[in-house]
């Protein structure tokens, strides 16, 4: 099984891709998932995270099959 990652807006542009997939391992946090997909490149400042479309802290644990999204502060409306 695996974890799906999505990137949005300026983060997507700077990474040069919109999504990733990493293998599931027990006890992964959101930040671990980022590191696995991005060769330990640090998460840029201010980036927010959502798991299965709900905001979560970066220390939140991830389950197998989860979708994790990373994006900059929102500017809609």
């Amino acid at each position: 099984m695996s974890i799906t990652l999505h990137y949005f807006a300026s983060l997507k542009e700077s990474l040069g891709r919109a999504s990733d997939s990493v293998d599931y391992l027990p006890n992964l946090t959101v930040l671990d998932v980022w590191a696995l997909a991005n060769q330990d490149q640090p998460l840029p400042n201010l980036i927010l995270a959502a798991v299965n479309m709900d905001y979560v802290p970066l220390t939140s644990l991830v389950e197998d099959g989860d979708t994790v999204a990373f994006f900059p502060p929102v500017t809609g409306g």
Binding site: F8, A9, S10, M53, A69, F71, P72, V74, T75, G76
Partner: protein
């Protein structure tokens, strides 16, 4: 109702249509509406157009949560939120928030709450295309200040 729209919309037409279709006649005494429209300038630069990206699925889920919160806090009869995504040009509406209630305290407070929560948390991102042919991501929203003290 929540609508994410790739096409331009006329907020006044949308309100006319929605109010006609919704079964709330005789109940509401107050309607409060906010419309955000694309300007042709921002932070001192002339803006030619804008691309609005969103996170499909999370946007709808999050807006639905915001409206749910508003319904718990105020006596709302109905609400309508329309948000554009994709390419947007000056003078085109970006967002419409409308709230119907029996009393204006509920309609006004809830409408304000929804637009502020949307601006703070809903997963939309604006990229501006300037007259200089440069593009830039918008990194902050303007303040939604409140100086009015209201009681009566």
């Amino acid at each position: 109702m929540i609508v994410i729209s790739e096409n331009p919309f006329d907020p006044w037409q949308a309100l006319q249509d929605y109010q006609t279709s919704a079964a709330m006649q005789g109940q509401y005494g107050a309607t409060t509406v906010f419309v955000g429209t694309m300007r042709d300038f921002n932070d001192g630069d002339t803006v030619k157009s804008m691309t609005l990206e969103h996170y499909p699925g999370m946007t709808e889920k999050h807006l639905s949560n915001i409206i749910g919160d508003a319904k718990q806090r105020w006596a709302i009869i109905d609400s309508l939120v329309v948000h554009r995504v994709g390419d947007i040009y000056p003078d085109q509406p970006i967002v419409l928030v409308a709230v119907w209630a029996a009393h204006r305290g509920d309609a006004c407070d809830a409408c304000r709450f929804i637009i502020e929560a949307l601006k703070s948390n809903a997963p939309f991102w604006k990229k501006e295309h300037l007259s200089s042919d440069q593009s830039r991501w918008v990194t902050h929203n303007s303040k939604g200040y409140l100086n009015t003290k209201v009681s009566d």
